[in-house]
Subunit: 339 residues, 2 copies
DNA sequence: CTGTTAGCGCTTTCAC
DNA sequence: GTGAAAGCGCTAACAG
């Protein structure tokens, strides 16, 4: 790469001092108008741009915020990132994204890397492995140092940091309620293993809804999908062993997979069986029939997380951790009977 | 945020010089074993981590590579990012992602920002607006400065930089060929406006395939979708006005949307009409019937792009731009008749 | 109007 | 064995 042009070189070119050049480029009134013009045209010609590392070191802030997420090939997460990008950019920050790929070790490494002055603050959503391990030393270290941090979606309640979460319990409570209202008598739940917090919360909403209506919760109607195995087979198994006329699934893929299996078994949707998914993405919209879903507003989540973080970064004083809970809404399409 | 612990502070703590501490932490043989131990435990205790901005400024390299892409909420792009992440991480680099949101101005800004020493190299895929404007000064500036750059997918042939592209022409040629082989007589093409290079190339493959078989290309069978309008309506219009028994669509969404419209119109798939999409993602897999697609290997694309870039960054001498062309393969599922 | 100086946090060479 | 000093590119307070 061609050596970068620096203040020093420009200074040498005109036989002036570095600070003169620096001021000239900033259009300081202290510098002679002629000299300023010469320096500026020269700089423009050579595409001078201040070395951002130097500037950032000087200012003791990087103007970049770090994002550590488990995965990016996932409509929800990429939506959140878009939201984050939007508000950080508006405020002159850039983002640095690191993927943990659901691995605890990578998450720890990423957070370690980024918090070394690379970024001014961190937005993180935990990997499944971290949640399974239940170890949060890497997060607590940040918190102990008052490092600006906001967690979103996959959070740990006990951690003393800003958080943005979806109201998972109410989202699935409403979904389950809706299934009951349209007349479903036996509602299956397709969820994650219990260590995934959002899965757990959505399960809670499902259970609460049933209990509120005095319906006995039948554990056999609950399938916990282990993603290390074949998803389709596991859902198929549920159909083999149980009978039901409603399904609530904690994500798009489970929901659409279930819908496809149902159809293959000769069931009509929504006449024979109504299905609701959680998370609204392209899969749900294009499914046949279009899937009724609990819409979680990823974009808005990203924006809020970024706002919390910037507030924290830019605040001189420290204040209590804040928690933002985003409510969901039910997008009724064609995979559920009408009331 | 609690003030970061620095070499200086540790030095003061032990009444030694900064350089002694620096060496001690690097386990230099020049330092007394006792002092070394004391310093190291102290550092560990206080979670000392070298300020990466300072280190990077010193080394004149950031060990981060920048990615500028139009969009992240898109399965293909996020797959590419995963690939990039994988190889850069293996080599001790981090990634910084900036989204242009298909805007020319944002793309120019992002590239400007990142190339100021923030990153050691850039991987970019152009925004649609850039392609429409046909202006590449921002890219050429990088090239003129020998700034390490690799473009992928949405590239401009004339630009003298490393590139990784999909063999779009052959991919769609094969797809169209396949439709012909299974007996389709009239094949519609659902594509992008012609300024989108990949759309143009895929159209070329379609045209070539037809011509090779001596089939006359009927322009009325080609729909160019303007994404600023309603996609569904535009495809619907094609069905209204034309008759055909095969469809080749340049992406998943167009393909599945077309498939759904066809079904709504009482057509059986694949008996009455066969459909192939370009790009293989979750939508295609979960569609009913599962969509036959041209698989473009995004993950591999990302890996190759990153490899080219690292090679460029780490090479002392400059060498001719390289171009990697990735071939696709046809994943036959249920939306096409069997031969 | 222009220059000197110190300093951001760290590394490295060279003295002692 | 330990430290002083220079330098990475830039900014800013202070002199002249």
């Amino acid at each position: 790469m061609r050596p970068k042009i620096t203040l020093k070189k420009i200074a040498k070119e005109f036989n002036v001092s570095i600070s003169t050049v620096s001021k000239a480029l900033k259009d300081s009134h202290e510098i002679g108008i002629e000299l300023k013009e010469k320096i500026n045209t020269y700089a423009k010609l050579h595409h001078y741009k201040p070395n951002s590392l130097a500037v950032r070191l000087q200012n003791q802030q990087s103007k970049v915020i770090g994002i550590v997420i488990p995965n990016i090939v996932h409509h929800f997460f990429s939506t959140v990132i878009q939201g984050i990008e939007e508000v950080t950019n508006e405020n002159g920050y850039n983002v640095m994204i690191c993927l943990s790929n659901e691995s605890f070790d990578k998450e720890v490494m990423n957070i370690g890397m980024l918090s070394n002055g690379s970024v001014d603050g961190l937005i993180v959503s935990m990997s499944k492995e971290t949640q399974r391990n239940n170890s949060y030393d890497h997060i607590n270290e940040l918190i102990d140092n008052d490092f600006p941090l906001v967690m979103f979606d996959r959070v740990k309640e006990e951690l003393k940091c800003d958080k943005v979460i979806i109201d998972d319990v109410n989202g699935s409570l409403n979904a389950t309620d809706h299934l009951i209202e349209i007349g479903c008598k036996k509602i299956a739940l397709i969820t994650t293993p219990s260590h995934v917090t959002v899965g757990q919360l959505r399960r809670k909403g499902y259970v609460n809804a049933l209990q509120k209506k005095g319906v006995q919760v039948d554990l056999d109607l609950i399938a916990e999908i282990d993603e290390r195995q074949n998803i389709q087979d596991q859902i198929e198994e549920l159909f083999e062993e149980q009978e039901f006329d409603g399904i609530f699934a904690v994500n798009e893929v489970y929901a659409v997979t279930a819908m496809n299996i149902a159809r293959n078994r000769g069931l009509n949707i929504p006449e024979d069986i109504s299905i609701i998914g959680f998370t609204d993405g392209p899969i749900s919209k294009l499914a046949i029939p279009p899937l009724t879903t609990v819409v979680q507003h990823g974009f808005s989540m990203g924006k809020q997380a970024a706002q919390l973080l910037l507030k924290r970064i830019e605040s001189k004083v420290s204040y209590e951790p804040q928690k933002v809970v985003l409510s969901t809404n039910l997008k009724i399409r064609k995979s559920t009977k009408s009331v």
